[in-house]
């Protein structure tokens, strides 16, 4: 096993990887941009090196700077986390050239699966259904127009090198095609330094369901069941579950078999995720394979008890997975809510700022993965994730109520958050019934009007503060529509008991 590895990432995923490293006795090296000097991953690591200015392109995407730190600090391997260089074939290749293990599949497999067009072809050749659309990445508008005419609207334009919800546009009207084409190219270039585009049929009523895969160099390829990821905003997942309430044993068997086959035919190693669209009739289509750890991996860990990062490290070190398929069991239900510093009332606009208070939930069945702390500034430069709150319970309904309880305990003060959005989703009848698709968040969630007593409470609190020996903060601060969720439950939860 490795003695020391570098984590080429930041935030909660860097810390997530370091946690397993500590448990395995592996020393950790963090890299950080100038904007991240005070970030928790720097404090958590055994060693930390600055790799450049705030913009990711000059730091977390600068593979050469990262490799230089790897050499200097004497690590044996590099864990890329998710995003940034995690699915960058060139970086994986450079690691190999530098004699360092890239903790992920080989550059060839990243090429084959990470590149969406190659992946589609591979799947088609192996009988895995794919979404109707281009098998080639396109660069000019006319070609895109032709494909649209062929497969019919609506279509989805996607960055060929994309991921994480970036560089995606739905086109339902031919007139919007040009704008969407330009926007996707720009976003794709900004995020992935590549402006190739894919065109796919868009399924408005579909679910997004993915299968977790683990594979080692010894030919073992196993699945860890599915994750339900249909609750999305702007193509980015918001709540994930394991298992999916929509997936019956028959569909589960088909999805996991297809996923294992996909991983097997390309000689996959490490952790990966095969994403599918599943329509109402339970037809499924290969969407893409993510050749890295996913944000939402905790729900799989909670249900299977398997530490996915540990298995990644074992596989990367050339060892066997610690589990065979027959050792993998589903136990109970898990849910994850991604807490962001953002404003759901304003198109999910990022809401950077200083976290003045951060209290995270505790108690039975609750897991928190966070990369922030009180007094830390949520930066403008990176994804404004504050924490992933995950719960486990014996049933989906118990998990849902546990999540509501956990969200109530969560106090984030100083920045706007999507905590309220999560509450609204969790008490929505459609969500509770399990009968939702990827457009769930485009619909209007029923507003929960503030109870009348709130104004009275605010007056009482004001009066109390003037009479208290420790008065209120003597300077009006710009408070945000957030924080003190602990108390919100007392109304909202009762309102939705059934």
């Amino acid at each position: 096993m490795f003695n020391k590895i570098l984590i080429a990432n930041r935030g909660e995923i860097a810390i997530r990887v370091m946690r397993t490293c500590r448990e395995m006795g592996i020393a950790t090296v963090a890299v950080f941009s100038e904007a991240d000097r005070k970030s928790l991953h720097v404090r958590y690591a055994d060693e930390a090196y600055c790799i450049g200015p705030a913009p990711a392109i000059e730091s977390y995407l600068d593979g050469d700077a990262i490799l230089e730190v790897g050499r200097r600090s004497g690590v044996q391997a590099i864990h890329p986390g998710y995003g940034f260089l995690s699915e960058n074939r060139n970086f994986a290749g450079k690691c190999r050239q530098a004699g360092l293990v890239f903790i992920g599949p080989s550059p060839e497999v990243i090429e084959q699966m990470g590149n969406k067009t190659v992946a589609r072809k591979t799947m088609l050749a192996n009988g895995v259904p794919v979404i109707p659309g281009t098998t080639e990445a396109l660069e000019d508008l006319e070609a895109v127009r032709r494909v649209c005419a062929e497969i019919g609207l609506p279509v989805m334009l996607k960055a060929a090198a994309g991921g994480g919800g970036k560089g995606m546009r739905i086109v339902t009207n031919e007139n919007d095609l040009q704008d969407a084409f330009s926007a996707v190219r720009r976003e794709s270039y900004a995020s992935f330094a590549d402006s190739h585009i894919l065109v796919e049929r868009y399924f408005p009523d579909a679910r997004h369901i993915e299968v977790q895969i683990l594979a080692d160099e010894h030919g073992n390829v196993i699945h860890l069941f599915e994750r339900e990821c249909s609750i999305q905003r702007r193509y980015q997942k918001v709540i994930e579950e394991c298992p999916s309430v929509f997936v019956d044993d028959d569909l589960r068997d088909k999805l996991t078999t297809a996923a294992v086959q996909a991983a097997t035919v390309v000689g996959y190693t490490g952790a990966g995720t095969v994403e599918f669209l599943v329509d109402e009739a339970k037809n499924f289509y290969f969407l893409e394979m993510n050749t890295r750890i996913q944000v939402e991996h905790p729900v799989t860990e909670l249900v299977t008890g398997i530490d996915l990062v540990r298995e990644q490290l074992l596989a990367a070190a050339g060892k066997q997975l610690s589990v065979a398929q027959s050792d993998v069991h589903r136990n109970g239900c898990a849910m994850e809510c991604r807490i962001y510093a953002e404003d759901p009332g304003n198109d999910y606009m990022p809401a950077p700022g200083q976290i003045r208070k951060a209290v995270f939930p505790q108690g039975p069945g609750v897991r928190v993965d966070s990369g922030v702390y009180e007094g830390w500034d949520v930066s403008l430069h990176y994804d404004p994730m504050i924490a992933k709150i995950s719960v486990w319970a014996r049933s989906r309904e118990e998990a849902r109520r546990r999540m509501l309880r956990a969200l109530d305990e969560c106090i984030v003060f100083g920045v706007k958050t999507n905590l309220d959005l999560h509450r609204a989703i969790l008490i929505d009848e459609t969500f509770i019934s399990g009968k939702f698709d990827t457009r769930f968040l485009d619909r209007h969630l029923a507003p929960h009007p503030a109870p009348d007593i709130l104004a009275d409470l605010a007056i009482i609190a004001s009066v109390c503060s003037t009479l208290s020996s420790s008065p209120a903060r003597e300077e009006r601060v710009a408070t945000e529509e957030t924080g003190l969720w602990r108390m919100a439950s007392k109304y909202q939860f009762w309102a939705t008991r059934f």
């Binding site: 970036k166 926007a183 720009r186 976003e187 900004a190 702007r234 304003n346 198109d347 606009m349 990022p350 950077p352 003045r356 208070k357 403008l380 430069h381 990176y382 994804d383 404004p384 106090i411 003060f413 905590l419 309220d420 503030a450 109870p451 709130l454 104004a455 009275d456 409470l457 605010a458 007056i459 009482i460 609190a461 004001s462 009066v463 109390c464 503060s465 003037t466 009479l467 208290s468 020996s469 420790s470 008065p471 209120a472 903060r473 003597e474 300077e475 009006r476 601060v477 408070t479 945000e480 529509e481 957030t482 924080g483 003190l484 969720w485 602990r486 108390m487 919100a488 007392k490 109304y491």
Partner: protein
């Protein structure tokens, strides 16, 4: 003494007196027994008729911002002499003039309106790229685009004025 208190544009009649157990407060005649205990940094634990709440209170003169039960409310105590909210500048009549500011650092991708355009409430004005996402800044009222203060591809800082609408 009675106080007129404004919360989110509604006015309430408030009286209070200290009691052995804390404080008795009447809001429009509704009676509450309250017991507040200061935690730190503007946070309070408040028992109102024995119901337990956390509250955050910040204050400037007679104007309070209170967060309770997940909602932020502005609480303004009128000056009993002038019978006006004490913080007048804040409450000056709605200006017809709208200045669009950058909500975060980013790059101007393009404009969706031109100088002289009439814009509707909610209409997209500017596309700002930040954190790798394109974000549309929208008008919060009707008006004419009077001035555009930046150019495409400009890098802007949070709060920077981008456009004036009247």
């Amino acid at each position: 003494m009675k106080h007129a208190v404004q919360v989110d544009k509604r006015t309430y009649q408030v009286e209070y007196e200290k009691t052995a157990g804390g404080l008795r407060v009447w809001v429009d005649g509704r009676s509450y027994q309250a017991d507040a205990s200061a935690l730190s940094g503007g946070f309070f634990s408040i028992l109102v008729n024995n119901r337990s709440y956390d509250a955050f209170v910040s204050r400037e003169k007679d104007s309070f911002a209170v967060v309770v039960a997940g909602k932020t409310m502005d609480v303004d105590f009128y000056d009993p002499r002038s019978r006006q909210p004490s913080d007048e500048s804040k409450r000056s009549a709605g200006v017809s003039r709208q200045t669009i500011c950058a909500p975060m650092a980013g790059r101007i991708v393009r404009f969706q309106v031109m100088s002289g355009d009439l814009v509707q409430d909610g209409q997209g004005l500017i596309v700002l790229e930040a954190m790798k996402m394109e974000n549309e800044l929208k008008s919060q009222g009707i008006g004419l685009v009077r001035e555009i203060l930046v150019a495409e591809n400009d890098v802007v800082v949070p709060g920077q004025h981008l456009m004036v609408i009247e």
